[in-house]
Every structure is written in structure tokens, then in C-alpha cells.
Amino acid sequence: MKRLIILLILLFTPILVFAGDLEWGGYFEPQYMGLEIRDNFYNLMSNKLRVDLSRDMSDRVSFGANFDYITYHGKTEWNILDYLPANITDQVPEMLRPLYKFNFGDMVQNIGPMTIARPDRIFLDNAYIRLAFDKFDLTVGKQQLSMGSGYTWNPTDLFNTKDVLDPTYEQPGHNAVRLDIPLGDRYGIESYLAPDEEWENTAKMLKLKGRLGHFDFSVLGLHRYWSYTDYIQFNPGGIYNRTLIGGDFAGELFGLGLWGEGGYNFLEHKQGFKPEEVKDHWELVVGSDYTFQSGLYVMAEYYQNSMAHAKKEEYTLNNWMWMLSSEMKTISRQQAFGLWQYPLTDLITIGSYTIFSISDRSAALAPMVLYSLYEDVELTIFGNIYTGTEGSAYAGNMGNGGLARLRVYF
């Protein structure tokens, strides 16, 4: 009931404030995922309602917000240890094993002696106001912060981690102040400030961007605190100051789309857990794409992370957990991504992703079909097939199956 009240408040407050000029829309997205893991077949379903609100109060002031309401059904409780190789899980003491369970929705409610999983989620994903001044724009509030020209990986983005099997899905909002200063029509400055409890821990980003010929480029500096949790003992995470110096470019060469993004990360240990493998490191991604006359679109990306490991035997429990919790973008050092898409008819597009871990020779394949079922109704079907041996980044025991997602826009 409390959730419903919050939902109604979120829905109607802006409507009351901005009266009739408020634009609203969004989508409803039921999704089914089926996975076969070690001879068991599991179902996970979700229903997501996303409501978008926006209003241009004037040429200079605009407001935007989104809230999501998601319910999860079927197998909502998972234990990460079930998908990791035995040599990794053996390190975990029996009494700590339940800690590796998690619920979709990340919500557990205690009622008396009972612990009832309540995997539904409601949250304000974005709510921001944008002020346009003569010389700059200011965006204040919870907003999507997306950085970098990479399609699957973004080494310069320390706010989000993409799902490599679904990299274009919208990212969550972050509480921040964003400043955009155009410098002529070719250059500009972009800056974020994402406040935390202390100024020292507040994320700060400054980017200079420009255009040279047919290439866009940027150089940036980003500073924020970072934590690496000790998942073996479940101790509080080691706190680091993380400073990233990097940049990106995107353009065209000999008719091919070409982009790249990279950065060097300086990690300064502040307190707590200090794993040996956490060190200064660099990440980079380069990619290229092309559209053939037939409409066939192909794309490839290569990614490297010098802190990740070159052999699967070197992966530790912490590495796996850091990757799953987005504390680290990847577990294997070198990876490649390939995509092809072809418009089979005006309404149906087929294609496939392939992610290949060069370091441990494992791969995941994701064939897909996108179908415009009706006006404003889209059906997306993904398969996911992991081919690697146990312990590799894309090991077969991760679960083979597929996902069907219907999206109805309103």
C-alpha cells in the first residue's frame, strides 16, 4: 500500500505542478528469460512499467523525469556460487555461502520472524531540470550520465557498466550536476559533479571535446572514490581514490566508421582491504562498423583491460564478484565483440552478437530477432549460448537459453 501511495505521488505531483503542458509517455515491458543450468531449466519473468514525464517550461527551462515499477516472478533468488567453478567456490567457508544469494529487485523485507522476499522495485530513475543560459547549460538532478564512443565497453565511463549481451539498454540515473559550455560550433566543455557524503569522495569530471575534420574527439579527467569489496570474507571494501585520464574519438576512415576510447586509471589506496591485484591500469576499446548496400550492418570492437587476467586460471572469487557487481568491467584481459544486423523485411530485423574472450578462448553467442509487431509494439528475442569451458569468462555453465521482451509504448 505504501508503494502504491509513493507511486501515485510520483505520478501526480508533477502533473499537478505543471498542469496541462506536461508531456507523458513511457512503456510497459513484460519480459521472459529461460535458462538451462546444469540440466535444470529456470524461468525468470519481469514486468516493467516506465513512465516518462517532461515539460519545456520555456526556451530556457525544461524538466524531465522517469520512474520505473518492476515486478519479478519465477526464479528470483540466485546463488552466484552455483555458476562459478569448484576451485573458486571451495575457498568460501560454509557459513558464508548464503551471503552469495541475491534477489532480483534487491529487496528483502523482515516481518516478525519471517523473512519474505519482496522482489518488486519502484524507483525514481531520473528527475532533473535543465537550465539553458546564453553561454552554458546546467542540468541538475538525477540523470543519465553516458560517456565514451564505445558500443559495448566504455573505459571512460566510471558511472555505468553495460550488459555486453544488451549494451544499448538504458542506463540508470545518477544524482549529479552537469555543466555544458559550448565553445563555438566545434568545441565544448562538459563537466559532471556527482556529490557524495564528502567533497573528497564526490565524483568530478571535466571533458574537452571538439571536432577535427570528420572526427569527433574528447579528452577528459575524472576523479571519484572507488571500492573493491573483499567478497571472500565479506569485509567492508577497500577504499581508493580513482583518477582517470582518457579520451575518445569517433569518425570515418576509408568509408568505415571508426571509433576508439581509452583511459589510464590511477588508484590510490585510502583505507581498508588492499588486494594485490588492484593497481594502476589502462583500458581501451577500438571499433569499426559498416553498412552494405543490402542493408547488412556489421560492427566489431576490441577491448583490453590491463588489470584483468590473461588466463582463466588466474581468475579469483573476488574477480568474479567484482565483475558481477560492476566494481571491475571485465574479468578477462582481451575481448572482442562482433555484431551483424540485417533488415529481413520492413518490420523484421535479424542479427547476432558474439562476444569472444581472447584471453581464455571462451565465447557467448546471442542470435536475435527484432519484430515491429504493431505500431508502438516491439518484440525482441535474444538467444544466449555460452561456449567456454568451466571457469572461463563465458563458460557453458553460465546458463544457455534466451530472452523474449515485448515492449509497448504509450
Partner: protein, 253 residues
């Protein structure tokens, strides 16, 4: 005396008329280019796709154009699925950016993206991006005069220049002599240069702000047996547009 003056006048007019008949291919294509790339414009258009199975999808979008088509901005208004998505094309569509409203991301696209179908329609982004493409990407040759769709037309053959990035090997264009509207264009794909891949037909030509404008444009795809109808609901020419609209800052607004 009166007869003499009348005779001279007739001779003068006849000479002038014959001169207009003798326009070279280059002059005709320049006039087509000038007509299609006005100083600036703002239009609201609908685009209805009819698939081979008879299903329909309708899109509505707003377009802005400046500097004789050198700068173009397209904003989707409907359906809800794509509302707010934007495409910015600068330098005669040699530089393209897409703004994805769901991820609030601006992505620089290579020019090969122009070959992609516009939201599954029979128009590619190349067909849409107002530019000097007829001049810069093709060599024009006049092959005669014909009556097409009831209009007296010049018939031009446009052959792709070596090194051009266009996805068409050739176009046959019928241009109305009276106003230089390209009433019909046959497009020949690079993959099968001997066969018409698509045909564009302009209908309902109206004078808007003194400029002849085809307000209904039909693109028929002969390969897929589909067609897309584009209707101009509103259009204004030679209006004041802020340069800021055609920047990344403008895309994010």
C-alpha cells in the same frame, strides 16, 4: 511597321524558348539542386510505410534545413516508440549524429549509415539528407525530353562519380521543364545497376511561398514490393533558424 515589330517579337520569344529547351544537363541539375535546397526550411511530414503483407506504420517528424541544405535536423514526433529521436546532418550530410532519447546519448555515425533504411521505410537517410549530392556525387547527362505524369520533362541520366559514397550506381530523373521539380526518379542500386531498385514520384505539386513543392512523395521499392508515402503537412521556406539548433547542444535540447 506593326507587323514587323510583331514578327521580331515572335522571333525573339521563339529564340528564348528554344534557348530554354537547350539547357544543358549541368544547368538543369543545378536548378533542381537550387529548388530542393532552399536557403532554409521547416517542415512537418508524415511517412507511411506499407509492407508487402499490407501492414502499415506511420511516422511523423519535424525537419529543419539551413544554408541551402548544408545543415539538416530531423526530429521524430511520432510514434511514441521513436518520439524525440533526432538526426543531425552537417556538411551536406558528410557528418551525421544521432541522438537516442532513451539513453540520452549522442553518437557520431559514419556516412555509410546513410544507406540504412529510415525506420524500415523505403527511404534511406541518403534520400532524406538535403545536400548537393546530385551535383557532387553524380555526373549528369541529358538524354532527351519526355512527357511524364502529364508534365513536359527533361530526362536526365545521373551516373555515380568514381569515389563517391552514394549507394546508387545511377539515377534516371524526369524534371518538369516549367519549374524544375524532379517529378520521377528511378534509382539503380550499386548491386544491380541494370535494374530499377526504387522509384520516387512527387505528386500534389503546390506553390508554397512561391516555391513549387511536391507535397506527396511516394517511394516504391521494386525489390521488396513495398512503398512509403511521405506527405508534407506544413512547410515554410526561408525562415530564420538559429545555428545553435544544428549543434550537439541543440540535439540535447
Amino acid at each position: 511597321m506593326y507587323k514587323y515589330i510583331t514578327l521580331l517579337l515572335i522571333m525573339f520569344l521563339a529564340t528564348g524558348y528554344s534557348r530554354s529547351q537547350e539547357l544543358a544537363a549541368g544547368e538543369i541539375i543545378n536548378k533542381v539542386n537550387e529548388l530542393m535546397n532552399q536557403g532554409s526550411s521547416k517542415a512537418i511530414m508524415t511517412m507511411t510505410i506499407t509492407t508487402s503483407s499490407g501492414q502499415k506504420r506511420t511516422f511523423e517528424y519535424l525537419t529543419y534545413s539551413k544554408n541551402k541544405g548544408e545543415k539538416n535536423l530531423m526530429i521524430y514526433m511520432a510514434p511514441k516508440r521513436v518520439k524525440g529521436q533526432k538526426m543531425l546532418m552537417l556538411n551536406n550530410a558528410d557528418d551525421i549524429w544521432a541522438y537516442f532519447v532513451r539513453t540520452k546519448r549522442v553518437r557520431k555515425l559514419a556516412t555509410h549509415a546513410k544507406k540504412q533504411k529510415m525506420e524500415g521505410s523505403d527511404f534511406s537517410y541518403e534520400d532524406m539528407g538535403g545536400s548537393n549530392s546530385f551535383i557532387t556525387d553524380f555526373d549528369a547527362k541529358k538524354t532527351g525530353s519526355e512527357t511524364k505524369e502529364g508534365y513536359k520533362c527533361y530526362k536526365l541520366e545521373l551516373v555515380k562519380k568514381p569515389g563517391s559514397g552514394s549507394s546508387y550506381a545511377k539515377m534516371i530523373m524526369w524534371v518538369i521543364k516549367e519549374n524544375f521539380v524532379p517529378i520521377v526518379i528511378d534509382y539503380y542500386d550499386e548491386d544491380s545497376p541494370d535494374r530499377v531498385g526504387k522509384t520516387l514520384l512527387q505528386q500534389n505539386i503546390k506553390e508554397i511561398d512561391g516555391i513549387p513543392t511536391g507535397t506527396k512523395i511516394i517511394m516504391t521499392n521494386k525489390n521488396d514490393d513495398t512503398n512509403t508515402i511521405m506527405v508534407i503537412k506544413e512547410i515554410e521556406y526561408n525562415i530564420q533558424l538559429d545555428d545553435d539548433m544544428f549543434t550537439e547542444r541543440g540535439l540535447r535540447k
